[in-house]
Amino acid sequence: MFNRSLGILFCFLFISLNPVWGAIPAKKIETANGITVLLVETHSLPMVQVDLLVRAGSILDSEPKAGLAYLTASLLEEGTKNRSSKQIADEWDALGTEFNASPGSDYVTFSSKLLKKDLEKGLTLFSDILINPQFPEEEVSREKTELLGHLDNEKDDPETIAAKAFDRAIFGKHPYHQPLEGDEETIKRITREDIVRFYQTAYNPRGAILAFVGDLTEEEAKTYAEKYFRLWNPKPQIHSKNPLPPKIDKKEIMVIDKDLTQTSIILGHTGIPRMNPDYYSLLVMNYILGGGGFSSRMMTNIRDNKGLVYGLFSHFDSRLETGSFEVTLQTKNSSANEAISEVLNEIRKMRNEPVSPVELQEAKDYLIGSFPLKMDTHAKLAGILIYQEFYGLGLDYFDKYAQRIKKVTAEEVQRVARQYLDPDRFVLVAIGKQSEAKIGVNQSISIQKEKTKQP
């Protein structure tokens, strides 16, 4: 969707760092059917943020039907035992609010912002959608057509094309290699029966996490969670077993030729799962390297001192299973090779020399000191509760987090840089006008054309 109502240009893209948790005054209970309920009680506004996590992400998708988890989540609100798709839309809009499904790879979250006076009406709708979806045939076929249209549309976004090619290249046979939404072929294969079956096995109150943030008491949270979700039947939990992504043993370059003024680049390789104990050292290392917005080394070198890019980030995407390390940037076609070699130089330098005491301290100060800003709205706070619970980090997580960040040393930063960054074995995807960019020319690396269909 276009969101142009502000019509403004930001000086820089908003920084999206890994979230940081606080010692949040949260309460935790469990419903009879196994939903973990978390509550943060605030009375500053007459509103309640409701978020629900279900372990039904695309990690459960099988390759021929990639996109099944995504479609199932999108179709939940398109008709239930009690309401048609239109009635559901009418009722949300009458409340002045909406129901959001956010399908992801490890899980799906559903959320709604409700005025306190509408809380019970909202929960009635919310739980009906979750517990009683019907997946009417005509809605399935409409949603599939729309999804195919959006995928086609996405081909105008070079970063998305590059990201999909990158995931396909680094994750091997692991389900993370598939796009969340599937592709033209897999979506066409998905039937209503697939969706119904997926819903029946994956949508389980056991392992689900419900977060309430706002104007309600512990008693109300308990009562509402039972009242509205008690008819959701528990079943055995699914544990997917996935192959590990392969080791990347060379430089693998994919060039996608498209008539653009800029080349969009993703460079990287596999990373770590979220629960790897080196997570904290990597957070500090990556902040200094390319994660720390205006202050990172890559930004200082490649944007501020060379004027080659507007945006540039490095990022460890740490998920339930092995994630990725990636550097993303856009630069005019003719400077693509220069930007790439600067990125590689920064990675080498990070491995070869210890970071300075000042850099180390500033990174720690930011990572620890910015936590109040990570939870200054009801929605952010609910998001944190859900994440913290999903990864089993505990309600005292911020204290542990701060301790772990504080302990990171320059030697430790260098050790993890050597262990988890590789400037010689990586995947590079570049989409742009190759006659100007000449990716890899004068570099001793083999170039392969992207295998999948591209515009």
Binding site: L9, G96, L115, G293, F294, V309, Q330, I368, T377
Partner: protein
């Protein structure tokens, strides 16, 4: 003083206190205490944007914004954001047609750092020629990314250029590429001297602080910055449009796009309220007319919606956009959007629909109070465009008074073919459309 009037939702009273003070040098200080979390946002708003630019010098305000991060004698290049970040804060800035704003978000205990940094660069910016050259290149990359390689933004830029002939809204905020090539360090310096004055700015602060004790701190840092001559007003008025305008852009893209814009009243006219309700009715939510009729039922649009914001200094724009679904033509989609507009003009809307649209506006208004940043931004916009922060005192009451007849009346008056500009982006490979 009440920013948001008391509303009928629940027992809680949504009023909160807002104070406005003008410092000796003309800087307006707007403070709103909000104690729900130990954080605050500080925003400095300058009343200058692309609206203040002239032919050949477009993009100046936005490039100026980038240069504000390039250092002062006190805090050299790169220090600003590092200081903010090592104190656990975030900073950024944005430029629009009517304003340029800078902000920091901090834990409440670090907030005075903002006053130091913002007052320093309000009074003493260094504009190094070499840094100017580098940053101009960064902005050109930004333009390539946002506009040149983005079909929607490319078409949108052309739409403004066609709809506004004389007024500076004609030109894009980021500037035309050749203008960026020719801007000079002297242009930036002159712009800074002319517009970056305390008497052309407002400081807006929302969050967990005490207004009585924070004001002397603000005075201490900002009052030494001298006032300057009042910047010249923008005197260009857009001549009245006399008839429909239409154009085609040919650009490589997956799908065609249509944009239909109508000149519309801004905050100075009461008709803004029925137009706002009309916007919600026609495009907010899955039960809205555009979604239900064009996406859900006729399956003719892949995406469609509207955009209208009355908080602009000069004429606002009521914009419809759409992308056809595969196999559907852009002409058919345009006709379908126009028939929805006709429907509003000819068939009275129902009370249920009217109430639903008002509920959406009211609920979102209340829920938006959750974000300090957003509240400060709304206040900054209202102040910068000339509506003033008290604009919001009567906002919901004015929305509630809108009747079905008002909506029909404003649709007939403003969504008229005579004020319409239509732009279509056609991929060359798709010309059969």
């Amino acid at each position: 003083m009440a920013l948001f009037p008391a509303v009928s939702h629940g027992k809680e009273n949504l009023q909160f206190s807002l104070s406005e003070t003008v410092l000796k040098n003309g800087l307006k200080v707007i403070l709103v205490e909000e104690h729900k979390a130990p954080v605050a946002t500080v925003q400095v708003w300058y009343k200058v944007g692309s609206r203040n630019e002239v032919t050949g010098k477009t993009g100046l305000s936005h490039l100026m914004e980038h240069m504000m991060f390039k250092g002062t004698p006190k805090y050299g290049k790169g220090i600003f954001s590092r200081l903010v970040q090592k104190n656990g804060g975030n900073d950024n800035a944005f430029t629009a047609q009517d304003y340029t704003a800078y902000f920091e978000n901090f834990s409440s205990d670090r907030i005075a750092l903002s006053f130091d940094l913002e007052s320093d660069r309000m009074g003493h910016l260094s504009i190094d020629p070499n840094e100017f050259q580098l940053e101009r290149n960064v902005v050109k990359e930004e333009r390539r990314m946002r506009t040149d390689d983005n079909p929607f933004d490319f078409l949108s830029e052309q739409l403004y250029a066609q709809a506004f002939i004389a007024h500076p809204y004609h030109s894009p905020i980021i500037g035309w590429m050749t203008d960026l090539d020719h801007l000079t360090r002297q242009d930036i310096f002159d712009h800074y001297k002319k517009y970056y004055l305390p008497n052309n700015a407002a400081l807006v602060m929302v969050g967990d602080f005490n207004s009585k004790t924070i004001l002397p701190e603000i005075q201490k840092y900002f009052e030494p910055v001298p006032a300057g001559p009042v910047p010249p007003p923008v005197q260009i008025e857009e001549p009245e449009q006399k008839g429909e305008r239409r154009f085609i852009v040919k650009k490589e893209a997956q799908n065609p796009i249509v944009l239909i814009g109508f000149k519309a009243p801004n905050f100075k006219e009461a008709d803004q309220y029925p137009l706002t309700v009309l916007g919600a009715l026609i495009s907010t939510g899955k039960s809205s007319r555009l979604y239900r009729h064009l996406v859900y039922e006729k399956k003719i649009a892949l995406e469609t919606g509207t955009d209208y914001n009355s908080l602009s200094a000069d004429p606002a724009f009521f914009l419809f956009y759409g992308k056809p679904q595969a196999g559907k033509t852009v002409e058919a989609l345009e006709a379908a959007i126009l028939s929805e507009i006709d429907l509003i003009k000819t068939v009275p809307i129902t009370e249920i629909e009217l109430q639903k649209a008002k509920n959406q506006i009211e609920t979102q208004f209340i829920l938006s109070r959750d974000s300090n940043f957003f509240v400060a931004m709304q206040l900054g916009i209202a102040e910068s465009v000339g509506a003033g922060v008290h604009y919001f005192d009567t906002y919901l009451d004015s929305i509630k008074k809108v009747s079905a007849e008002d909506i029909q009346r404003v649709a007939r008056k403003y969504l008229s073919p005579d004020f319409k500009t239509t732009g279509v982006l056609l991929p060359p490979s798709n010309e059969k459309n």
